[in-house]
């Protein structure tokens, strides 16, 4: 008889974990809010309240087991999925990372220019003796002096100045002039040191001895939602792509993130740079996954039939050795295969005494991918086929034999259909898996050889997922997350259709819920 009494340690663990969670939320939420990360702040607060409620309420038993997992699932799987759907309809990409407000701020602040050609003033850097603030002691064009702090400028009476030798001042009342050594230690502070100088003009530190009087050339008019270049008079208006554009089509960097409707999708279907490659990639994705499943299943089943003879000696040893490819870490085995297929010095060409361009010819690269997947995938098919064959109800097979059916007939008409029926869900799952098996492609061929019309992004062995990865993270012209998400979303639709079809077909659902 077990005793079910000691509750104290469990209670202690519960209190510690809940305490840690609440402490984390109290710490994280203000920081999230200060970064305007509203969604995550709200999510953390709601999740914490929910968990507290569930764990402090003795009636919510099921919730205790399932809520924590669901919270993680929603945040790291559902939200990214939905977010992918959203990004697919935006222009989120290099040059369009900011929201509109910040982008306009950056445009304006990037456009500072000298007010006029000689708007350079000699200057010395000092510290306010009272407040410790940094102050720029600027000699104005008329010979008077200004103290410029980040908050603004003020005149310094001539009486407070002790002139030095080389046109510099040697002391200022109320301020401590800083030596070069002192300046070097605070040098970073001057990267972004602007002092308002009246109107929309600013003093900007040029070096340790000079400031420039600058003003932005671009001015943003909020009411008209347009930017005007003050010196040329050109106006820029927002276009549909999240950029400020002049009538001549001149763009100001950077743009901002905005929704662009179906443009990412239509781009894939109509833009020359994507349409051709996309068609090739799509065709290869479908046929690659199908060929892999068919070939591995065929060989796996044949092997299972051949080796599943009750009187075959060494059967277990054979089985153990055959599944080694399945046990080996796939990333490493793929990289080893890539070395073996190497055209110049790979073992395969050397053994065959050939110089087959395994990885640089589009057809040979496809063959190489399929050979490697045959190697990697057959053990799995062998295992599940063996399992299915051994699970065949022996009565049916024996009954058929008693009725006088030949072994061939028993195999083709009874065994094979039964095996296929049990394995269909696994085969469809395997198809869906191969459909997005990134590593199988990326680690072996890198997707190559390149499809020339794709601008170097897509390759002949790229499947949708590896194409997505390249669009998002590796294209030379910057990363197009919007387009990548559109392709990803499309990939999802395909995989989901396959899976739903499979569940319909195999009807495994009803009796499992």
């Amino acid at each position: 008889m077990r005793s079910f009494s000691h509750k104290t340690p469990a209670l202690l663990v519960k209190i510690i974990l809940l305490g840690a969670l609440n402490a984390f939320t109290f710490w994280a939420v203000p920081i999230l809010l200060s970064h305007k990360t509203w969604f995550f702040a709200a999510y953390f607060v709601i999740s914490t309240i929910l968990i507290d409620y569930v764990f402090l309420n003795s009636k919510r038993i099921a919730g205790k087991y399932i809520v924590p997992g669901v919270i993680l699932l929603l945040l790291f799987q559902v939200y990214p999925a939905l977010f992918t759907g959203y990004i697919a309809f935006t222009n989120y990409s290099t040059g369009h990372f900011l929201d509109k407000e910040s982008a306009i701020e950056v445009m304006v602040s990037n456009s500072y220019e000298l007010v006029n050609d000689d708007a350079i003033y000699s200057m010395q850097i000092a510290k306010d003796r009272l407040s410790g603030e940094i102050a720029l002691i600027i000699r104005d064009k008329d010979g008077s002096f200004l103290a410029a702090k980040k908050s603004g400028t003020s005149k310094i009476p001539t009486s407070a100045i002790t002139p030095g030798s080389d046109g510099k001042v040697s002391a200022v009342e109320g301020f401590k002039l800083l030596s070069d050594a002192e300046l070097m230690s605070i040098i970073e502070q001057f990267n972004d040191f602007y002092v308002p100088a009246g109107g929309n003009q600013f003093f900007r530190v040029a070096d340790f001895n000079a400031v420039e009087k600058v003003q932005p050339v671009l001015a943003y008019d909020k009411a008209k939602d347009q930017i005007t270049n003050i010196s040329t008079g050109v106006t820029y208006r927002p276009d549909k792509n999240g950029s400020m554009v002049s009538a001549d089509g001149e763009e100001i960097e950077p743009g901002w993130t905005t929704t662009v409707g179906w443009r990412n999708f239509t781009k894939v279907a109509t833009d020359q740079r994507y349409r051709g490659p996309m068609g090739l990639v799509l065709a290869w994705t479908f046929s690659y996954a199908a060929l892999v499943v068919l070939s591995t299943f065929f060989f796996g089943l044949v092997l299972a039939l051949v080796l599943n003879h009750p009187r075959l000696k060494l059967r277990r040893v054979y089985r153990s050795l055959l599944i080694v490819p399945y046990a080996m870490p796939s990333v490493l085995s793929l990289l080893v295969w890539a070395g073996m297929f190497n055209e110049e010095f790979g073992v395969i060409n050397r053994m065959l005494h050939t110089s087959i361009p395994w990885l640089s010819d589009q057809w040979m690269a496809k063959v190489a991918v399929l050979i490697v997947q045959l190697w990697a995938g057959t053990p799995y098919m062998f295992l599940i086929s063996t399992g299915a064959i051994q699970a065949l109800p022996s009565e049916i097979v024996e009954a058929a034999a008693v009725d006088g059916a030949s072994p061939q007939k028993v195999f083709w008409n009874i065994k094979l259909p039964l095996v296929l029926m049990t394995l269909t869900p696994l085969l469809i799952a395997s198809y869906a898996y191969n459909f997005s098996n990134f590593g199988a492609i990326y680690l072996l061929t890198g997707g190559g050889p390149t499809i020339i019309s794709s601008g170097g992004i897509a390759g002949h062995t790229d499947i949708l997922i590896s194409y997505t990865y390249k669009l998002a993270f590796m294209s030379g012209k910057g990363n197009d997350y919007g387009l990548a998400s559109a392709v990803s979303f499309f990939n999802f639709l395909l995989v989901a259709s396959i899976s739903i079809y499979s569940f319909r077909k195999s009807r495994t659902m009803e009796n499992m819920i």
Binding site: I66, T84, I87, V324, A327, P329, V331, N342, P379
Partner: protein, 298 residues
Amino acid sequence: MTRKVVLVQQKKMTFGKWLKTMSWRHLVAFITIAFALFPLFWMASASFDPLGIVSSQKLIPDHPGLDNFRTLFNDPDHPYLIWFRNSIVISGVNAILQMFIGATAAYALSRFRFKGRKTTLMTILIIQMFPQLLAATSIFLMLAELGKSIPFLALGNSIALIIVFAGGALGINAWMLKGFYDTIPSEIDESAKIDGASHSQIYFRIILPLARPVLAVIVLLSFIGTMNEFLLTSVILGGKQNSLTLAVGMQQYIDGQYKQHWGPFTAGALIASVPVVILFMFLQKYVVSGLTAGSTKG
């Protein structure tokens, strides 16, 4: 009894009959095994070939030595041992977390009848169709945003990677484990309940111990799965050499450098593969039963 019968039958087989029914089976097995093991052999042979040159490598090196291993361990630009440690830690923590989250949720789904249970099951199933790796882009952007506020959820941090994987745990394991729990007779829990056991005691002291073999398989498969994960790991951990896992580090090490790094690379691949393969061999029986569980149930 049965063994005796088999022995009698085996004695009866003549050499002629063996040649006809068995010999070709052995032949097929030999050929396939040769194909299956060749890459492993080639990798092992390269790792002991001190020349470390891919173009002159022979199946059995003329002067085997450990030079490649020394090179591998002493390359400051490619800290193999640190990658190895990272892989073990990340995969280990993740395997246990994934198992625990899945096992816990599956208990509720199998044993309690609560509002929204069917919806949860269906939702999990549908969500599973959108694997995390398809959302790599948005996970990347999401962590870039979160990392500004919460340092341990920033890109390049392995805790962020582990938590992201933990988010996928429910989708992967809950269904499989629920299926297993359903096979444990509920009379067991009920009699424990009569003895005064609380729900958590039933879970931790009865259900979990009974599910130990399945949980072991899930831990093993998640461990290997995480070791092998490439896409999300490379997106999240990025280019910081010291935070990489073996999968990403070794890929960067060998990518485009087959000529220079082949020897040390194979040495590293050998060290990383052998323990996994051996572990797999030991747990073979359980893994196989886990794989076929799905098919025999439908």
